[in-house]
């Protein structure tokens, strides 16, 4: 009598959760933009046996954006998933894994991310500010002003913008633009940059020092600007994944 095929894996089975953990770790480890994502739900799992102790696993997972920037050294387990009212962003991923002799590895992954609909947010929280486009004029102006403000006050390294992570604009009761953006230290001090900003270059990957800034610019009723930047310290880059693969430009020049 031929052996009965094994029962199909359920999405909440420990084996599925182990595969999802490897998948999420891979996805975060191979992304250099935005924020770390955390597992929200395993949508589907299919196992194709290839031979003894050799399976191909197709996994569909729903992820949610956390508050940890992708370059942050904070472990995913310590990252907070953004709340619904913070205008959550979801990631849908298809991942192909191989389980060989009990060892899981990712062969391929494909992800799409999208923000929750504005209608959903407004329905539950009518006054919550909504996500703005990253190339919105007001967002770019707020980021430029915030980074200039930080660089004009710091005695440490001159920071350059890497990318804007997210931005929100609120119109009532006050007109407020809040933005979060990733930065990198240059080889100049802020004072040196004042003399010749063009000579300030980002450090090579092996000496890289990244950071993250949060800024709030109040436009109405009274103009105000606050910015807080934190540098992570030197990090060892992942082989094959250049940290500085993104374009580094001042805001207002095709920053998207």
């Amino acid at each position: 009598v031929p052996a009965a095929p094994p029962a199909p894996l359920g999405c909440d089975d420990p084996e599925s959760e182990a595969a999802a953990e490897v998948a999420v770790s891979y996805i975060n480890g191979h992304s250099r933009h935005g924020y770390k994502f955390a597992l929200n739900r395993i949508e589907n799992i299919r196992v194709l046996p290839q031979g003894p102790n050799n399976d191909i696993i197709f996994l569909e997972v729903d992820l949610l954006e956390t508050t940890c920037p992708i370059l942050s050294p904070t472990l995913l387990a310590n990252c907070t998933v953004r709340s619904f009212t913070d205008h959550a962003v979801e990631g849908d991923c298809d991942v192909k894994l191989q389980k060989l002799n009990g060892q899981l590895s990712v062969l391929a992954s494909k992800c799409h991310s999208h923000a929750d609909s504005s209608e959903d947010i407004i329905q539950i929280c009518p006054d919550c500010p909504l996500l703005a486009r990253l190339n919105d004029t007001e967002v770019l102006a707020a980021v430029t002003a915030a980074l200039n403000d930080h660089n004009s006050k710091t005695t440490d390294a001159y920071l350059k913008l890497l990318e804007i992570g997210r931005a929100r604009i609120q119109y009532n009761p006050a007109h407020v633009v809040s933005a979060e953006f990733a930065v990198a230290a240059t080889n100049c001090s802020a004072a040196e940059a004042k003399a010749n900003v063009e000579s300030c270059q980002l450090l090579p990957d092996d000496q890289s020092n990244f950071g993250f800034c949060t800024a709030t610019k109040v436009i109405r009723p009274t103009e105000d600007l606050s910015v807080d930047c934190q540098l992570y310290g030197h990090q060892v880059p992942t082989p094959g994944v250049p940290f500085l693969s993104r374009v580094s430009q001042p805001p207002g020049q095709d920053a998207t």
Binding site: P8, L9, G10, C11, D12, S16, A38, L39, N40, R41, I42, E43, N44, I45, D62, L64, V81, F84, A88, E90, D116, D120
Partner: protein
Amino acid sequence: SVAKRAVAEVAQRDKGIHPVGFVPLPPPCPGKIRHFKI
């Protein structure tokens, strides 16, 4: 016969009538939501 009883049980289950002690299994997928659903 045994065969007839098994068929009858399945038919009862299909109608949502389960024998005593029957615990329905949760659907295998999708899995549980850990945070919230968008």
